[in-house]
Amino acid sequence: MVSSLTLFQATIILYSMGALLALLLRGRKYSNLLTYLLPAAASLFAIVLSANVIFAKDALHISITRDALAQFGFDVFIDGISAFFILLIGLVSLAVSLYSVGYTKEYEGRKDTSILGFLFNIFILSMLLVVVSNSVFAFLVFWEVMSLTSFFLVIYEHEQEANLKSGMTYIVMTHLGTTFILASFLVMYLQTGSFSFDAFRQYVPFIPLQVKDIVFILAFIGFGTKAGIVPLHIWLPQAHPSAPSNASALMSAVMIKTAIYGLIRVLFDFNSVGSPDYTWWGILLLSTGAITSVIGALYAVIEKDIKRALAFSSIENIGIILTGLGLSVIFASFNLTALAVLALVASMYHTLNHAVFKSLLFMGAGSILYATHTKNMEAMGGLVRKMPWTSLLFLVGALSISGLPPFNGFISEWLTMQSLLSTSQIPDSTLQITIAFASLAFALTAGLAAAAFVKIFGISFLSRGRSEHVLHAVEVPRSMLIGKGVTALAALALGVLPFIGINLITSAFNIQSAQPASPFDTITLQNASGSNFASLSPFTVVVLLASVAAASYGFVRVVGGPTRQVVYETWDCGFGGLDERMEYTATSFSQPIRKIFKAFFRPRNSIQREFYADSNQYKRKTIRMESTTRSLFEERLYTPVVSATIFLFDKIRRIQTGKVNSYLLYILITLVLLLVLVRLSP
């Protein structure tokens, strides 16, 4: 058995080598291969490392350097929680690394791909180091390195002004978040007198409740910014689409999960939320999660940029994860351990699932971009025939993320729903009703998410191609398919055999629960009176589905005889000339939803008509309709705050009048003011 330390070192070294070789072998033969195969190998090591920690309980606790004066250093501690997130990182980066081998060809000749390779490796490495850091300083350093490298990835195509703008939004927002995290840690430092997480673990439970509340609020805002909770989410739909697709896959699938990691540390590691004092933390998490998920889903439905839609869907999924987390805290605060475990498992399962299918979907979107050079869904269509494998894999992702059986999304959403349904066991009826209403948001989210992904898949892959972008699209290289295939398989495996995920989570988080012991067992939940509350055996469902399908095929074949197919044009009401302009577009697909939620979207249609003659308004030459929606948060929240700040600053900066007289006057006034103050003070 290899020790965790060796594995850890090997992982770090391999990623670093990947980064270095990317720079050193710039433009050489095989450089691309090495740049991405090294991190793929490192990811394997990371996966083994996490398995080692989770199942062999070989936790790693080392202190690397320590500043004698300020007592901070780079401590490393890999426990189950870290290991779970290492697994996430390892799994996704394995797939994405393989995918990148092919994907970076998109940039060859146009951009310096060595920088991309370098940043890619450092980015993964920094995420890995974030989740193993065991001291405030190390955590913050790696956290910001992670932000920084991802920022550079976002502006990798900096020639386009829009990317710079989204990069700026991203870096500013993430820095804001980091500041809140820093503040939270500083408050803990004040109370515990140490920068080490070990000390936090030891002493945070003893600090006063009010202070703990402050710590939590600060940490929640800080991590929430990174996770993309509403209304701190505005960077996410800008940044993720701007980055190269392999980077957006990593950002969406893993990076925002580091925020979840941080929250878990604060909630369950530094504190042990076991008294009703913490209930409102859970309510905060739950309600934020509910709002986040609905709003993310709503935006995802109406979006027509495929990567932006995926980014909004990430916001939605973070909301679902937070819902589970919040429930877990609520249950834990009432000492309903079994339910707390259920909700935590649900939340973590969804974290794992989202990592899997979101990386798959972003890789799929990247493949489309690779083949068609556009992110605009309105310009796609008909790709299912040009890129059969990509479309199949993308469909798997879409089914998973829509929470449909037998894929993994269904399992975690099922678990989350079950936790929501278990609120009847909380001894507080106000809370029960509140949570019941929160579940409304959850269900709406599920419905909207399905609509969003029907749209994304349907509009981009199905029917006719809508522009010349898709004319010459061909299937992407094999490495890109392998990358997606890995995650698609994982999505299926986690969907059919939830045993894998649940066992992983329970051992990682070291929680006792009666969970399936063999891969084919059912998940069973008991209600308060001990009878079966709910149970689920996805494997059986798959078997049933398959047999029903086989049986029905047999029946139809027996009754109907052999099939004779005639291929003909789509029915055009006899007019003829049905073309791609008459198809439903992404915008028209989402029009009903846009209209129903018009209070939120504020849709505006501007129609410009041109007539052959003004006298006859029936004979129109052209009609051009533009449908726009408004971003409520940017307009109502960010713009006013920013402009108020700028207004204030504009007044302040005017003290620099350019007149030396006024400068001298300031000095005189300062001096006299201070002297008078001293004179007047006793």
């Binding site: 009826s429 029907v454 029917s463 709910a534 029905s552 029915w571």
Partner: protein, 315 residues
Amino acid sequence: MFEPSFATLAAGIIQTLVLIAFSPLLTGVMRKVKARSQKRIGASILQPYYDIVKLMRKDEVISDQTSWIFKSAPWINFAAVATAALFVPVMLAYSPFGLAGDVLLVIGLFSLARFFTVLSGLDSASAFGGLGSSREMMLSSLIEPALFLTIFTVSLTFGATNITTLVSSAAGLQQLVTPSLLFALISMFVIVIAETGRLPFDNPATHLELTMVHEAMVLEYSGKLLALIEWAQSIKHLTLLALMINIFFPWGVATSLSAAAVGEGLLVFAAKALAIGVIIAFIETRVAKWRLFRIPDLIAIAIASSMVGIVFFYI
């Protein structure tokens, strides 16, 4: 409760087969009732069976723009709906597959079916398909919360989402009509109508583009594929009715596996299903199809009703 055994398993499969087999009949009966109440003679109540068989034997016309999604969607649709039917008790108080899935799985399978149907609508590159798909997704995304809240109420009342537990608790309940269940029932009724695409949500008999939802999606289908879709629609309808019946009106459901009990259960179920079918048919003759953007109001009523049900439960 039931013990898993070969007999119960067989009984379970049989009750599902009954459901699948008789579902077109319900459609036929409803059409007949509708026709009669409109002073028409109407087709035979067995007409849906004739249609299905006829369609199965016909050639298929496939659009040249379609892909494998179009061809496989009816199969997936049918399989998913039929599988969902396996989990719903009909005349028995349990389904032997209750341990493999609960009511949420049933909803999940319906969603899976719908997902592919909607995709198939988009696949044909016709203007109608997109229209239907778009409206269908809009409706379903709104119905989802209503349905979930209804389940919430029910599961609060009976302490389960497992259908077997639900039905057995319902059958064993002393006071049958609690206020919360009543509200849940109202909600459930609206949902059943909406999910199965009946008036005032959707007119199953129309082919006018202004009013089509479900029909627009499946406009391109013919032959075997259309047969599967039609049948699946009927199965879905009856499955939902069965769910509603066995949760809200579980009288006479067979709790044991004796021939008498099962027979009685079947008859009672048939009576109840027919009654509800007739009620729906009557309603359909009374109302016109609502404007698409008024439909959310109706769904909002369902949601509100469930919410009130939840509040009543806790009070």
